[in-house]
């Protein structure tokens, strides 16, 4: 058996929250709704890192990711009484929608994005892929993917989530998400293989 497993973290690193964590979230929500605003920081500390990584993966910009995170948590605070079920899934959807809105706005204001929903492998200048390290090339390749594929790839490979967890957060089936991740891999393989294979 080829041994790539030590360098290739493929399994989920963030298992679904257990009941006690969900109860803990609800307890914090109850405190905030009762007037203890500072308790909200517990929810920020608990969930900001995976949400930040999601926003970063989706937008490719640390500044934008920070902005989206701020706006999303403030929105979550003001609508906290509307939480039904898992807080982490609820706040994830706020951040995910923030990312998609940002991408839509970018496409409206940048001619280079007007065309698509298509991966822009051939639209990306060759020199762009020839510069820099894999990090930059991977960012450029990810940004060339349609939103739904980028989202699935980022959640699976960057955030390290299981398909089951992704299905809960995105309200999609495991089969559909596997297909999105597979299609994202195919596109990335195509974009990156010449330089790195």
């Amino acid at each position: 058996m080829l041994d790539y497993t030590s360098d290739v973290p493929l399994k989920s690193t963030e298992p679904a929250p257990q009941d006690d964590l969900l109860d803990a979230d609800q307890a914090v929500i109850d405190r905030v709704l009762a007037g203890d605003r500072n308790a909200f920081s517990l929810l920020i500390e608990r969930y900001s890192d995976p949400l930040y990584r999601h926003a970063l993966g989706m937008t490719g910009s640390a500044d934008v990711a920070e902005d989206i995170l701020q706006v999303s948590f403030i929105k979550a605070f003001h609508h906290l009484a509307e939480v039904r079920g898992r807080f982490d899934a609820w706040v994830f959807r706020i951040v995910a929608n923030g990312c998609k809105d940002w991408l839509k706005n970018i496409r409206r204001t940048h001619l280079s994005y007007e065309e698509d929903d298509q991966p822009s492998a051939l639209e990306t200048p060759d020199e762009e892929l020839d510069r820099g390290e894999l990090r930059d090339d991977l960012d450029a390749a990810l940004l060339a993917l349609p939103d739904s594929l980028r989202e699935a790839f980022v959640m699976k490979h960057v955030e390290g989530r299981s398909y089951e967890e992704m299905a809960v957060l995105l309200d999609a089936t495991v089969g559909a998400l596997k297909m999105r991740v597979h299609r994202a891999r195919e596109a990335l393989q195509k974009l990156l293989e010449e330089r790195y294979s």
């Binding site: 360098d7 900001s48 949400l51 990584r53 701020q70 891999r185």
Partner: protein, 99 residues
């Protein structure tokens, strides 16, 4: 009305059938969603990247692809360790306090 011999709509049905290129097979709904490059990765490689058990023989011949994905996964692993900058949490709490 003038007919355009190059327009299949103006041709006799038999001729239109002769000149019309064969209709491509209807793609599946999933394929219609977003046209992407043709598949380059085998089912075994996808299964391996999904974390499933895959035999050596199933992966034989895919060493180049696996090497690329090893590098991509290593880069993704670095990103997985990124944390929210401390000032972001402070700014959120400060804005909430101002409300």
């Amino acid at each position: 009305m003038k007919l355009d011999p190059q327009d299949p709509r103006d041709a006799a049905p038999e001729r239109a059938a002769e000149t019309r290129p064969p209709a491509p097979a209807e793609p599946s709904a999933a394929d219609r969603e977003v046209p992407l490059p043709a598949s380059e990765l085998s089912t075994a490689v996808h299964a391996y990247l999904d974390g499933d058990q895959v035999s050596d023989s199933a992966l034989s011949g895919a060493e180049r692809e696996l090497e690329l994905w090893k590098r991509i996964s290593a880069e993704a692993g670095k990103r997985r360790k990124m944390v929210t900058p401390a000032h972001v949490t402070r700014q959120i709490l400060a804005k909430l306090a101002d409300d």
